[in-house]
């Protein structure tokens, strides 16, 4: 494997600036694809049976610590509530401990059944102690979820997804072919010296996998950055439960990225198989020379 890694290192060294720009475009395209796939998979995922539904309840700003404690007790005593967790927002972590304790953030409430989601939400709103009560995720996500799960429109979603997948794979494949052309002289040299085709293909497998992995890392970092941006910019998107959605999207995007790395690795293997034999090219050149010289 040392030999293959050495050739891979030389392959990366051989890439000119133009191909590095292409590589950057590939990684961004992969990251966009992974972000979309993560979002679609999130929207399509049904609530696991028996796990119940989740509610987010944001208490009013003017409640004291003792009010919050009693609110917590009251929530736990509700027959439909399984678990309640009090969460501080991370924007409050830089404040002093006293201030942080007094700063209300939100309650994450797990219900016994999603059938009771609407009635429990209505009941909690009736208590008058909460600014907001609702399921995790903004309303816009619910709209998309409905759109995706509608039998009449899901075919459009599937077609769009396949188109995006095809474009992503095409971009990766183009990048692999471009790097192969840059490295053609070296490949030919090694092929003529009896280096096995497998050894020559592995650097391209690694390059394809690297594109997928870099896209996975990028989507993870981008979503992490988006979450941090939302937390520091609560005026733009005030729903505090965005954070959970983004966390899930980041993890999903990364995992899909790992899977895509495998697919891109296979593309690397296939792209190297298309490399023409230097001997056959030599004959073609020779034949065309014959025609020229008449």
């Amino acid at each position: 494997m040392t030999k293959e890694l050495f050739i891979f290192k030389e392959l990366l060294r051989s890439l000119p600036a133009r191909t590095w720009v292409l590589a950057l475009v590939i990684v961004v395209a992969v990251a966009i694809f992974l972000g979309v796939v993560a979002l679609v998979s999130f929207l399509l995922q049904p609530v696991a049976p028996g796990m119940g539904a989740r509610l987010i309840a944001v208490p009013r700003d003017d409640l004291s610590q003792s009010d919050l404690s009693s609110l917590h007790e009251r929530l736990l005593s509700d027959p439909e509530v399984v678990h309640v967790r009090f969460v501080f927002s991370s924007t409050a972590t830089n404040r002093s401990t006293d201030e942080q304790q007094r700063t209300p953030s939100r309650f994450e409430i797990v219900l016994r059944s999603d059938a009771e989601l609407a009635s429990v939400s209505e009941r909690l709103r009736g208590w008058g102690a909460f600014r907001q009560v609702g399921p995790p995720g903004p309303d816009s996500l619910e709209t998309w979820r409905d759109w995706l799960q509608n039998p009449e429109t899901r075919w459009f979603a599937l077609a769009g997804f396949l188109l995006l997948l095809a474009m992503t794979l095409l971009v990766i494949y183009s990048g692999l072919i471009a790097s192969q052309r840059n490295f053609a002289g070296e490949l030919e040299l090694l092929e003529l010296s009896g280096v096995s085709p497998q050894t020559l293909r592995i650097p391209f497998v690694l390059l394809g996998a690297l594109y997928g992995l870099a896209g996975a890392l990028l989507v993870g970092y981008l979503l992490d950055g988006l979450r941090a941006l939302l937390e520091f910019s609560s005026l733009w998107l005030p729903e505090p439960w965005e954070r959970d959605v983004i966390d899930q999207l980041g993890v999903r995007g990364f995992l899909f990225g790992l899977a895509l790395s495998g697919v891109a690795g296979i593309l690397g293997w296939l792209s190297a198989q298309k490399y023409p034999s230097p001997f056959k090219r030599s004959r073609i050149s020779s034949s065309s020379a014959d025609v020229t010289e008449g």
Binding site: F6, G185, L189, L190, L192, K280, R281, S282
Partner: protein, 234 residues
């Protein structure tokens, strides 16, 4: 003397149905230098392709280093190719690295250590009289320098057989002379077998080689003309 290439009853037809070789026979002894001449399209490159097992003829037998290349397992064929140095006419360009780096790159990919590869690369460049240009890039070389660099790459892993496909094409007479002189030195010092193809070989009499002409699908054995005083003097 032992034989390194033996071709018997070789027949080949091109995709258009034109017969390229008809009952072709050829032998190259170990340590021998042979030159095959022939017009464009005579099948010189094709013959080299058959010898290295890259292409397959319709009929015949080809033994290289005592192995039948038409029946050999692909893994064994690759092992055999490590004993052959090849110079092809149409090769992809090498431009980014220096001469020394390219030769070392090939040797590193053939399992040599960094230090061994570097030392051997410099030895090879010295052999082909390019040691003073080791730090230059291939595009900076003139036509004959570029051919010598390719020759060095073909020689760097110490092959026992050197196949050269039209290395003199397009060179000025001085360039032809320089390349052949280096080749003669390589032949003398390494004692390897050389098979060279070219269109014409008016210089053949001045070098210790066996000359063949490829015409009508068959090889004609042309003995080299004796070396005379007029051939040696410039």
């Amino acid at each position: 003397m032992a034989i390194i290439i033996q071709i018997s009853e070789l027949e080949a037809v091109d995709p258009e149905g034109k017969r390229i070789f008809t009952d072709l026979h050829f032998r190259l002894h170990r340590g021998e230098w042979a030159c095959i001449t022939g017009p464009p399209g005579a099948g010189k490159t094709l013959l080299l392709g058959f010898i290295v097992g890259e292409l397959r003829p319709q009929r015949g037998q080809i033994l290289v280093d005592d192995r039948n290349v038409l029946r050999i397992h692909p893994a064994k064929l690759r092992q055999l190719r490590r004993r052959i140095g090849m110079f092809l006419e149409a090769m992809a360009p090498l431009e980014r690295s220096t001469l020394e780096e390219y030769v070392a790159f090939k040797l590193r990919a053939l399992d040599l250590s960094v230090e061994e590869a570097r030392t051997k690369a410099l030895d090879t460049l010295e052999l082909v009289e390019l040691i003073d240009q080791a730090k230059r890039h291939p595009p900076e070389l003139d036509a004959v320098g570029e051919r010598l660099f390719r020759l060095g790459l073909a020689l760097s892993h110490d092959p026992v057989l050197l196949l050269l496909d039209d290395p003199l094409r397009g060179l000025e007479p001085t360039g032809v002379e320089r390349l052949l002189t280096v080749l003669e030195q390589v032949h003398l010092r390494k004692r390897l077998s050389i098979l060279l193809t070219t269109r014409e070989a008016p210089w053949a009499g001045r070098f210790p080689l066996h000359l063949y002409a490829l015409e009508g699908g068959q090889l004609q054995d042309l003995h080299p003309t004796p070396i005379t005083e007029s051939d040696i003097s410039p």
